[in-house]
Symmetry: C2
Subunit: 198 residues, 2 copies
């Protein structure tokens, strides 16, 4: 199958084939410079109207980490407590405020989202794509990601993201994989279960 891919085998392994979701990490820190390098790469991933609604909130202080842990599902709490870096990946429902800068040729685009429900759906859809890019970016930096969706999202939004229009979608642990960092690879769906034709 690889004959059809231009991406090098090493890069395929780094991003997809060998990369794994990590459940434990070494103590080695993840620096702001590493996060900036990741973001400086993945910022180029496409979004509708170049809207870029993903916001990355790094949980750096002990206080913020303790508050976050209260909202995590039981099965995710210990690994979130121990990870070198934890980031809240959220959709900014006020993304449209930036359209005059990021989509300048569409005059008035800022006002095309008067319905808050539709605006949030647009924010979540495009931030979802960007979370996909971000996870690839973490792996591109030679780090392992441990993305999680088991948490009380409203609790995080009200406690840690109060005063913003951010809606938490994924919480991700980031670091160098520790001992027994992952389980066996789980099965993927068959091609015919995913790809069909009309």
């Amino acid at each position: 199958m690889n004959d059809f891919l231009e991406l090098s085998s090493d890069a395929q392994d780094l991003l997809f084939r060998q990369a794994r979701t990590a459940n434990s990490f070494t103590d080695e820190p993840v620096t702001d410079e590493q996060v900036a390098a990741i973001q400086d790469l993945v910022k180029f991933g496409p979004t509708a109207m170049n809207s870029q609604p993903l916001r990355i909130v790094l949980v750096r202080s002990d206080d913020a980490r303790a508050r976050l842990l209260k909202h995590m599902a039981d099965g995710n709490r210990d690994k979130t407590a121990a990870a070198p870096l934890v980031a809240i990946l959220a959709a900014d429902t006020d993304f449209n405020e930036h359209l005059p800068t990021v989509f300048p040729h569409a005059e008035g685009a800022k006002d095309w989202f008067p319905d808050p429900v539709a605006r949030e759906a647009t924010a979540r859809l495009n931030a979802g794509l960007q979370i996909g890019y971000f996870i690839m970016g973490v792996r591109a930096a030679g780090l392992a990601a441990g993305p999680m969706t088991g948490f009380d999202a409203e609790g995080i939004d009200e406690d840690l993201l109060a005063g913003t229009g951010y809606k938490t979608m994924v919480v991700v642990n980031i670091g160098h994989p520790g001992e027994n960092a992952w389980f066996d690879r789980l099965p993927r769906l068959e091609h015919e279960q995913v790809v069909t034709a009309l």
Copy 2:
């Protein structure tokens, strides 16, 4: 910044830095073998509970293409008519039916999603991440993607996806970029607008 990335500069360019959303394509076809190679790579991207809710519906027949075009926004219709391959990227709201196979250790997980609203939200979140992976996969194959969200999603679901639990999220044109395939790169948000710390 690149000093912090393990991914080769060539791969960074192919996937992010040089890659662009294409609005026109050459006539060169995109084969089922190419799509299979892309899917065989991106299927390894992580999803919650290994749920893999993304479904890729290739619009291969003239009849299906004509029906799809009726649901596209005016600004997306001509390029969707002309692209070598068009794919509907949809979230399968019945993804939980596959959990006994793809998440076998969690007995009864199939029945953890009785609320259709919550089930659809889970499907959309994880399929969104997978759309991000898929766009990277198209680029990994040396092809250009033209993802679009300007269409009548309910119209597509009812007309082309009737009888499935699929919900259309993105329609993507795929091919080799044609003449004047893209506009100038639009500005990205500043780092401080995206990444903050608590």
